[in-house]
Amino acid sequence: MLMYTLKRLLLTIPTLIGVAVLVFFMLRIVPGDIVEVKLRGDGGNVTQEVVEQERKRLGLDRPMIVQFGDYMWGLARGDLGISMWTERPVIEEIMIRLELSLEVAILATIFATLISIPLGTAAALFRNTWIDYVVRIVTIGGLSIPSFWFGMIIIVSLLTFFNWLPPITFTPIYVDPVANLAQLIWPALAVGYRYCAVTARMIRSSLLEVLAEDYIRTARAKGVYERLVVSRHALRNALLPAITVMGLEFAFLIGGLVVTEQVFNLNGIGQLFVQSVSRNDFMLIQGMVIMIAGFYVVINLVVDLLYAVFDPRIRYGG
């Protein structure tokens, strides 16, 4: 298991290098120049000389291959470079937002897990009864309603019924947990509803399939209590596909909450991503793509390892 984990971790290096190379060259093909956006994006009366000076100052006048070499050398040393827009280290720009994005993703995952497992299980166990129908309606709602729209409904409801809004500036959880949760619980709820719906439906269908397996029939025939049949034998197996979905959802939540972040005025990774794309700040885009790719790789690894925990038949060799 340890060897397997180490091997998978080593494999992340060529994956991330591939991502870095691809992103570097693809971004250079996209039309647009950050210096023009920076100096003339707001209708600025800036001379060409000033534009050229700025380009030189940022090192954008150098041949692409030199810039590429510099970038890769920086990556090898763990340096993601400098944001062309703010001229601050990319890692600093990302870290400021990552705390918030990670927290929303974690809260949404907790919410989704706590709700989806009982909902999915109940729907499967009471198939085609009113319980199943209610769960299906709730989960179809979660799949159909966009998270940002649900977020808007939450905000409008809070304003209308309580004349109150969650804070719009971020307070870290270690500074003031109440203020932190007062801000982040709502977006977590908004995105968690969809997350929960996807997972609950996955658990329902997966559990239905597992409950029809021979070994479940055998367990029942042996006289094992129904509760144990479900919790110990069926649910553990049924959770495997749900874990895969949850892993992918978690990784998506870190960088993919663009509109929800805008609705709640959250200073997260999603907003940063969109801003950097519209400004053509390719150093920052590259940094974020590599970071998100890294998250996907690590989360996939964690999911694979969790398989072994939930299903003892799965063993990873060296």
Binding site: P31, G32, D33, G41, G43, G44, E54, T86, I168, Q262
Partner: protein, 526 residues
């Protein structure tokens, strides 16, 4: 009895007046939260052109002169206590307030003014100075004593005082600049009413009262927080929920109406014409737009007066005007404007003439792509409006909205046919607004790609002319030539609507969102 009643009424009126006076008396203290709809890329206004930098940095800095917003576009002193201009308009002498302190405790002297303006007009290596060209007429800057600074010009420049009052020309410490001329990009040490506390990236900027501010009794606020709200809906929610008390750039009429309905008399709505406009421009190098008949036909088909009525209900676009903000002292009066191509109120005849011109040019079934930025307000309604106007003379237009970066790339490379452009001004000085129209051979700002000596000549003449009436004539001559040749033309000027809670007092509305943001006189009536 009658006397008694009159007496009581008199006493009541006196008490009421007293109460009102008390209500208007500024109160000290409190923290102001306001929204900023964009985040500044750095802290240095000298090297920036976005209002986000000014809304961020203005409270920390002072300028030599500034606009008196109660009498806009009148100019008053900021760091300058007084000033004189020599009769030949070649020497500007400023006397500075005494005892002005930077936030680090050092005293401001004329050397700081000189260092600041030297940085703007001759930026050292690594310093970006976006308004360098506005000070090319300065020959020398002298500092005969610590409180006097003298600017000598090579040639008279009728826009010079406006340049000195520009909110972008914030004054820095000579000592700081000598140590590191790029320091203002990342460090703040000004003489403004507030001292920098923190900038949490993507979240907010905070300032606290400068107890040593040179204007006695100011500022009123203890502190403030400018919160970045990049999405209009989030900003409006925050305003409604009282988490911010204002957003000082401006909102659309629909947003105003929503907030008025939601907040009622708790909300203050202030409106003004705006020093911004959208323009339609043609790539004069690209056929068929190198044919004046085609360009002129397209301008003549636009019903600006009708468009103004409709668009002003759904967007920030409103006033019909030429190259200078309508209603401002040097603007062309409406009676003269309607005689120029594209401004006729008889749209039926204008469109008939437009069809005739297109037929003459052999482009009756013209098709082209209109480039536009993908910003909802007011670019999208403006683009849709133009497409509809041109459809009415049989022209088929594809409306292409793109991100700012590829849009600017297309404009700069000339890889477009027709586009909607943007003019962002901070005052009504025509020199500033007309720079865009100068020949492209020496002017990269001219995205319409034409050369016209007559325009260049009239620009130079108005710049050097001291007599207002004569200057007006040169401006109108330039405008006439520009519109007759139909190189590019304003579509409509913007209308500024600022919303704030009624508890916020002392902030002054103006036609520019770049002005009046030092917050020194702002106070909270709580």
């Amino acid at each position: 009895m009658k006397r008694l009643i009159l007496g009581l009424v008199g006493v009541a009126a006196f008490m009421l007046a007293g109460l009102q006076a008390e209500a208007q008396q500024p109160k000290r203290g409190g923290n102001l939260n306001f929204a900023i709809s964009a985040e500044a890329p750095h802290y240095d206004p000298h090297g920036s052109d976005t209002y986000a930098t000014l809304h961020f940095s203005s409270p920390f800095y002072s300028t030599l002169l500034r606009y008196n917003l109660s009498k806009f576009p009148a100019i008053e002193g900021d760091l300058a206590k007084s000033w004189t201009v020599s009769p030949d308009k070649l020497t500007y002498t400023f006397t500075l307030h005494e005892g002005v302190k930077f936030h680090n405790g050092e005293t401001l002297t004329s050397s700081d003014i000189k260092a600041t303006y030297d940085r703007i007009r001759n930026p050292p290596q690594g310093v970006v100075s976006t308004r360098r060209a506005t000070f090319v007429d300065i020959e020398s800057i002298d500092t005969p004593n610590p409180n006097t600074v003298v600017f000598k010009l090579k040639t008279a420049n009728s826009s010079m005082l406006d340049h000195f009052a520009s909110p972008w020309n914030t004054v820095y410490s000579a000592k700081d600049l000598a140590a590191d001329s790029t320091a203002p990009r990342t460090k703040i040490n000004g003489t403004g009413p507030f001292i920098f506390v923190e900038h949490v990236k993507g979240s907010h900027v905070a300032g606290k009262r400068n107890e040593n501010y040179f204007k006695k009794g100011l500022p009123y606020l203890d502190s403030y927080r400018g919160i970045f709200t990049l999405q209009a809906a989030a900003m409006l929610n925050a305003l409604q929920g009282g988490q911010v008390l204002a957003e000082f750039r401006g909102v659309s009429p629909a947003e105003r109406d929503r907030m008025v309905a939601a907040m009622g008399d708790k909300l203050r709505v202030e409106e003004s014409s705006w020093t911004l406009n959208l323009l339609v421009l043609f790539n004069n190098e690209k056929p068929p737009f190198n044919d004046v008949r085609v360009r002129r036909a397209l301008l003549m088909a636009i019903d600006r007066w009708g468009g103004s009525t409709g668009l002003s209900k759904i967007s920030t676009l409103r006033a019909v005007g030429g190259v200078v903000r309508p209603g401002s002292p040097l603007a062309t009066p409406e009676a003269d404007l309607v005689k120029l191509p594209g401004f006729s109120k008889d749209i039926k005849s204008a469109r008939a003439e437009a069809r005739k011109l297109l037929k003459e040019a052999g482009h009756e079934n013209l098709k082209f792509v209109l480039w536009n930025r993908n910003l909802a307000m007011p670019y999208t309604p403006a683009g849709v409006f133009l497409v509809d106007q041109w459809r009415q003379i049989g022209v088929e237009v594809e409306h292409k909205q793109s991100d700012t970066a590829p849009y600017i790339a297309a404009m700069q490379s000339g890889n477009y046919e027709v586009a909607i452009d943007f003019s962002n001004l901070f005052n009504d000085d025509p020199t500033l607004s007309m720079t865009k129209f100068l020949s492209s051979k020496n002017n990269p700002l001219n995205l319409a790609r034409y050369n016209d000596e007559e325009i260049d000549k009239n620009y130079e003449l108005q710049l050097r002319e001291g007599d207002v009436q004569k200057r007006k004539q040169y401006i109108q001559a330039l405008e006439k030539r520009l519109f007759e040749q139909a190189y590019q033309q304003p579509i409509l000027w913007w209308h500024r609507i600022v919303l704030s809670h009624k508890t916020l007092m002392g902030w002054k509305m103006s036609p520019s969102h770049n002005l009046g943001q030092d917050l020194a006189e702002v106070w909270l009536n709580q």
